[in-house]
C-alpha cells in the first residue's frame, strides 16, 4: 500500500525515535485547535470551506493507504483548472470552496 516503497533509508523505529515527539505535539496542537473551535463564543464557521477541508484532511490521516500528503494537498486545492474571468481577491486562503462542488470534474 506504500507508494514509493523502500525509498526512505531510515527504519520505521528510527523514524519514530527521531520524530515521534514532534508529530505527537502536532497532533495535540490540532486537537486543541478543534476543541478551541468548539469552545468559541461565535459558532459562525459551520459552513466554512476551510473547516470542511480540514476535517476531510484529518480523515485522510486515519487511512492506511500511502500517498496521504498528496491526497491532503488535493483536498486543500481548487481542482477546477478553468481560468477566473477576473481576480476576486489577491491572497490564497489555504482551501477552496470551489473544489467541493466540482470534485474531480475540473481535472479533464
Amino acid at each position: 500500500m506504500a507508494t514509493h516503497a523502500g525509498t526512505c533509508p531510515l527504519s520505521q523505529t528510527r523514524l519514530l525515535d527521531d520524530s515521534f515527539m514532534e508529530h505527537r505535539a502536532q497532533v495535540l496542537a490540532v486537537a486543541a485547535f478543534l476543541d478551541r473551535l468548539d469552545r468559541s463564543r461565535d459558532q459562525d464557521a459551520g459552513g466554512d470551506f476551510r473547516l470542511t477541508a480540514l476535517r476531510e484532511a484529518l480523515h485522510v490521516l486515519t487511512e492506511s493507504e500511502g500517498g496521504r500528503v498528496g491526497r491532503v494537498q488535493m483536498l486543500l486545492s481548487d481542482r477546477d483548472v478553468r481560468l477566473l474571468e477576473e481576480r476576486d481577491r489577491q491572497n490564497a486562503l489555504g482551501a477552496s470552496g470551489r473544489a467541493h462542488d466540482l470534485q474531480d470534474g475540473g481535472e479533464g
Partner: protein, 277 residues
C-alpha cells in the same frame, strides 16, 4: 556544506542574514523580483526596485563573500493590471544587460485569472526575444494545483521553450510530478506554514531522486527562514543521506541550472561537477 540559495528576497532581509548565510556555507543567492507586500505605485517603482536588486544587493552580499544575482519581472500578484504590465515589460529590457541579471522571473500565476495568464505569456515572449532563462512562481495553497497545471501545459505546448532553461518553483507533493514529467527544473521552497518544510522536501527527493530538483528558502518579509537550506542539509543528514547527494541538491544542481547563463560564475570547480554527475 557550501550551498546556493536559488530563491531569496534579500531586499526584505537584514545584513545579519547575509552574515549568517555566509557562516552556514552560502556562496550565492539569486533574487527573483516579487511583490513588496502591497501593490507598487507605478512603473517607476519597478525600475527603482530593479535598480536596487542589481546594485545595492550585490554589493551588500559581496561583503560576506556571497554572490548575488537577480531575475526581473512584474510579479504575478500585480499581473492582473494589464496596463501596468505593459509599462513594466517595456522597461525590463534596459536592465537585462546588467552583469548580475540571469533572466525573467519569478513570473507565473497568483489567482489564475485571464489577465494574469496574459501577463505571464507576455513575459515569456520577452524572455524568448532576449534569450533569457525563466524562473517561475507557482501559486500558493489552494491555487497551486490548477496554476501549476495551466503553466506547465501552456509552456509544454510551445515548441520554442527549452524546459531545461526553465525553473518551476514552489513545487509540492501534488505538483512535483507534472513539473518533472515535462522536463522542467523543479524547486522546493522551504517556507514555514505555507510551502514545503525541510522534512517534506527530503521526502520528495527520496521519492523522485535528485534529477532537476533544487531547494531554496524563498525568505522574504514574511515568516520565513534565511537559513532554510542549511536546515534542509541537517534534515538530509539526519535522514541518513550521504554527503554527495546533499551536495548535488544544494550546490551542483542549482549551479548546473544557473550555469546556463554566461553571467553566472559557477562556485563548483569543473572536477567537482564531474564527480557529482
Amino acid at each position: 556544506m557550501r550551498y546556493i540559495d536559488l530563491h531569496a528576497h534579500m531586499i526584505s532581509r537584514t545584513t545579519d542574514d547575509y552574515h549568517k548565510m555566509a557562516l552556514t556555507g552560502c556562496v550565492a543567492v539569486t533574487e527573483p523580483a516579487f511583490w513588496s507586500g502591497r501593490d507598487r505605485l507605478g512603473a517607476q517603482a519597478f525600475a527603482d526596485y530593479f535598480d536596487h536588486i542589481t546594485t545595492f544587493e550585490p554589493a551588500r552580499a559581496a561583503q560576506y563573500g556571497v554572490a548575488h544575482y537577480a531575475w526581473l519581472c512584474l510579479n504575478p500578484k500585480e499581473g492582473e493590471d494589464r496596463e501596468l504590465a505593459r509599462q513594466v515589460l517595456a522597461l525590463i529590457p534596459e536592465f537585462l544587460s546588467r552583469p548580475t541579471v540571469l533572466g525573467i522571473g519569478e513570473i507565473g500565476l497568483n489567482r489564475v485569472t485571464r489577465n494574469e495568464l496574459a501577463t505571464f505569456l507576455d513575459h515569456v515572449e520577452l524572455a524568448l526575444e532576449h534569450d533569457q532563462m525563466i524562473h517561475i512562481h507557482t501559486p500558493h495553497l489552494e491555487d497551486k494545483y490548477k496554476g501549476t497545471r495551466v503553466i506547465v501545459e501552456t509552456l509544454a505546448k510551445d515548441g520554442r521553450i527549452d524546459p531545461a532553461r526553465v525553473m518551476v518553483d514552489h513545487a509540492e507533493e501534488h505538483t512535483v510530478e507534472m513539473i518533472l514529467d515535462h522536463g522542467f527544473w523543479t524547486g522546493f521552497t522551504l517556507y514555514p506554514r505555507t510551502k514545503a518544510s525541510p522534512a517534506r522536501a527530503v521526502d520528495m527527493i527520496e521519492m523522485y531522486g535528485p534529477e532537476r530538483l533544487c531547494v531554496a528558502s524563498a525568505c522574504d518579509w514574511g515568516p520565513s527562514d534565511a537559513l532554510a537550506v542549511p536546515e534542509f542539509v541537517l534534515e538530509m543528514r539526519r535522514r541518513g543521506h550521504d554527503e554527495a547527494l546533499i551536495y548535488r541538491v544544494v550546490l551542483h544542481n542549482p549551479a548546473s541550472f544557473l550555469g546556463q547563463s554566461p553571467k553566472f560564475v559557477r562556485p563548483d570547480a569543473p572536477r567537482e561537477r564531474v564527480a557529482a554527475d
